[in-house]
């Protein structure tokens, strides 16, 4: 992360908003996908920073310090969300079984995708379809998938935030990725062949 270039008054929350507001907002948006919520958390972060700025040691940049505060706010929010909406997913019934026959072989054989991976990964149209497929995932799968694969959080951090074991995380990610692959096969790759 780039160090702060500005030598503006470090104790002024208005300066923090001007210098780091967009960055922090983007950080929250990329994790929560909700404009109002992201803006609220930014407000809380700046106010918490203001109340606690005596505790800021100056050993890190102001931005790093503010991101640290915001991270905690996001984690608190996600935990509350999981608790209040009772987001649980059964470990017993395995939805990935539907993709296999009784002998454990593929029910529908995965196809080779012949598109150029670089071009595909950079394609906005593909991202739109991908995002739509992610939105269709069951809530808890979607939550951990977004944290781990979309935001690139470490597995350990995702487990801590969601209060789940590493094994449970792996199960959820496996289910999410399998459903996504199937969704993309049918909503992107098969469509390409037809057109």
């Amino acid at each position: 992360m780039k160090a702060d270039i500005t030598v503006t008054d470090n104790n002024n929350p208005h300066n923090w908003l001007n210098d780091h507001g967009d960055y922090l907002y983007r950080y929250a948006m990329s994790r929560l996908h909700d404009e109002e919520l992201a803006s609220d958390l930014l407000q809380e972060t700046l106010l918490a920073g203001w109340k606690g700025h005596a505790g800021f040691s100056g050993s890190s940049s102001v931005r790093t310090w503010l991101v640290g505060i915001m991270k905690h706010k996001i984690i608190d929010h996600i935990r509350k969300e999981i608790r209040e909406r009772n987001l649980v997913e059964s470990v017993e019934s395995d939805p990935t079984s539907a993709y296999f026959d009784a002998d454990g072989s593929w029910h529908e054989a995965p196809q080779a995708w012949h598109e150029n991976p670089e071009a595909l990964c950079a394609s906005g149209q593909f991202h739109t379809v991908l995002d739509r497929c992610i939105e269709k995932l069951p809530e808890k799968q979607q939550l951990v998938f977004r944290m781990r694969d979309v935001s690139g959080e470490e597995s350990e951090a995702v487990c801590n935030t969601c209060d789940i074991s590493a094994t449970h995380l792996h199960v959820l990610l496996h289910r999410a990725r399998m459903a996504l692959r199937y969704c993309l096969q049918h909503h992107w790759f098969n469509q390409e062949e037809k057109s």
Binding site: L17, D22, R26, M29, S105, H127, L130, R148, G152, M178
Partner: protein
Amino acid sequence: MKHACQEVSRLASDSLDRPLSLLEKLRFHIHLSVCGNCRNYTENMHLIHKATEMMQQTNYGHIRLSREQQQRLHDILHRETGV
């Protein structure tokens, strides 16, 4: 090997999140060497993984606070901190 593809699909996903044990690695690679379906699956999976990472950048890289949001936040800060 019974249930091989089903198990291998799990290993393909797990390998993105944890180091596989030596035994798992062996099973995984031996199976891939004889199973085109699972090779396709693993490749698809890596492509999705990479595309997902890049999606973050395209979908959120340009996001900024609107003028209204900025103004609202400045007002709130002023009210709450007196600065």
